[in-house]
Amino acid sequence: MTAALVGYLADTRVLAGRHLLHLRRTPGRLVLMTLNPLVMLLALGYLFRHAITVPGGRYEEYVLAGVGAQVGLAQIGPTAIGVAADLRGGVTDRFRAMPVPLGAVLLGRTLSDLAVAAVSLAAVAGLGALLGWRPHHGPAATAAGFAVLLAFCYAMAWAGVLLGTLVRDAETLDSVGALILVVFGFLSNAFLAASSLPGWLRPVAEWNPVSSVVGLCRRLWGNAAAGQSTGAAGATAAAVLLALLAAAVVLSLRALRGR
């Protein structure tokens, strides 16, 4: 049992190393993926900071958690394209015809995605601090906020795996990724208070998983938070993330095994 686990982890590490090597070979991709949320942060947190008002705080603080969630959403498309390319090109089949567990193949990919997300989030936090973002509840709560965002990014990496398994065409995936970024980003509380949305859209934004993650981060950081207490927001976000992750993992493995 222990030997099997050690082997599983060793495979995962080797396969994650493959993706990190990809990033070293195509540094432009890493830069562009990080640049996307940074531009968003600059546009909203700097250019629009006086144009948008949110109840109970400054917009440049309010928007940071939203841009953090954007990092996770922006990852879905690239992850899906990578998964689909490995499936089309036969690389996944090669691994699967070897004594390598399918789970290790996908863990390797999602964990390397998580490393990229961590770099992006660090860049977002750095630029945010320059623009005036401050967490107000001490280092532990600040770290907890980033842990929540990382957990969200990880769930989104698996959502990308599922999407890439179901849709094989790279151009379609590119468009779907962009659509997800806009729809889930804007129909949530990421950039605007849900209460400022047209009435019929409010329930959509409130049920959007992005909203619960962003709401919890604002609470942990003391950035113009509204609504639930930290405990309730934490429980909601944890339930939402676990459900998303479990669904994406189970459906991805099923879709891949049944091919």
Binding site: G7, A10, D11, V14, L15, R18, L21, H22, R25, T26, R88, G89, G90, V91, D93, R94, F95, R96, A97, M98, P99, V100, R259
Partner: protein, 317 residues
């Protein structure tokens, strides 16, 4: 002799559409089994089931002595697969591609390096070893793919259309590599659409069509099924077609078949060079003017067309 690959009654349907309708295959250890068939015949699905990538709806199969459904992990320890598309990572170099496989096979750092260097040499990849695989030619990428497949010294190799899309030179190189691997004791299942390829490499050939094995045997036996050598002459004066057919029937001792539209006559000619000389002399003596004089040996194409009745309907892609 023990079978390294055995399949009995494999069935598989996708969304209600049957792809395999009961496939039986057997390859003794150390032999090459060619699975020959058109697109859509079920070759790739068969390979995917035998390599544990896909579960069959019905039937059983064992590879290297292990049941593919129940003992998948044991099977995967003993096989190598090159799929229809070249499964190399374009961003990694040839060396890194192989090293990745070596580490997943737990060959150790030093063991991996030794084995990778040896394979790069043997597959003629040494000069290209440190270039990104995406920049290699199709032939080199295929070689790299095959090298990755044999890195773990598998007992059974599955090569799914390994030379599709390759230029003739690369194809010959790949054939030599496959022969070399079989010489080393491996069992190979090779799918192909090329009759020539099955003929060149396989000890036995299974012809598949529409999800069934419709013929099985050695290349020589299958060719015998397709018929004997056949002489075809094309006449300078079309009016002489019927008369020449009678002459050829007498000379060859077999019924000749005239084709008035093409001013051609075909006749079976199993007797080799002597028959050929007698017929040629006879035609010349009778003063028949001939523009084309060809001896056709039966090919696997003939087998295939004879068995499937292809040409009537285009097989599904």
């Amino acid at each position: 002799m023990t079978a390294a690959i055995r399949a009995e009654g494999l069935r598989k349907a996708f969304g209600g559409r049957p792809v395999l309708r009961g496939v039986d295959l057997e390859a003794p250890a150390g032999t090459v089994l060619g699975v020959l068939g058109p697109n859509g015949a079920g070759k790739t699905t068969t390979v995917r089931i035998l390599t544990t990538l896909l579960a069959a709806d019905a039937g059983r199969a064992s590879v290297a002595g292990f049941d593919v459904a129940a003992r998948g992990r044991e099977v995967r320890r003993r096989i190598g697969l090159t799929g229809q598309s070249t499964a190399v990572d374009g961003l990694l170099t040839a060396r890194e591609n192989l090293a990745l496989i070596g580490r997943l096979l737990r060959l150790g750092r030093a063991g991996t390096r030794r084995r990778v260097d040896a394979l790069l040499d043997r597959f003629g990849l040494a000069a290209a070893a440190d270039l990104p695989a995406a920049t290699l030619s199709g032939g080199l990428r295929r070689r790299l793919d095959l090298a990755a497949c044999v890195l773990g010294e598998p007992a059974v190799l599955f090569l799914d259309e390994p030379t599709t899309g390759l230029d003739p030179v690369s194809r010959t190189v790949l054939w030599d590599l496959v022969r070399d691997l079989v010489g080393g004791g491996a069992t190979v299942l090779l799918t192909t659409q090329y009759l020539e390829e099955a003929d060149a490499l396989a000890d036995r050939i299974a012809v598949v069509d529409a999800g069934r094995v419709i013929a099985e045997g050695t290349p020589a036996a299958l060719k015998r099924k397709a018929g004997r050598d056949r002489l075809e002459v094309v006449l300078a004066r079309p009016a002489e077609t019927a008369e020449t057919a009678r002459l050829l029937t007498r000379l060859a001792g077999h019924p000749a078949r005239p084709d008035p539209d093409r001013a051609a006559v075909a006749v079976p000619l199993p007797g080799g060079l002597d028959d050929l000389a007698r017929v040629a002399a006879g035609l010349s003596a009778a003063g028949v003017a001939v523009t084309d004089f060809t001896l056709h040996r039966p090919t696997l194409d003939d087998v295939f067309f004879a068995l499937t009745g292809a040409g009537e309907a285009e097989p599904a892609a």
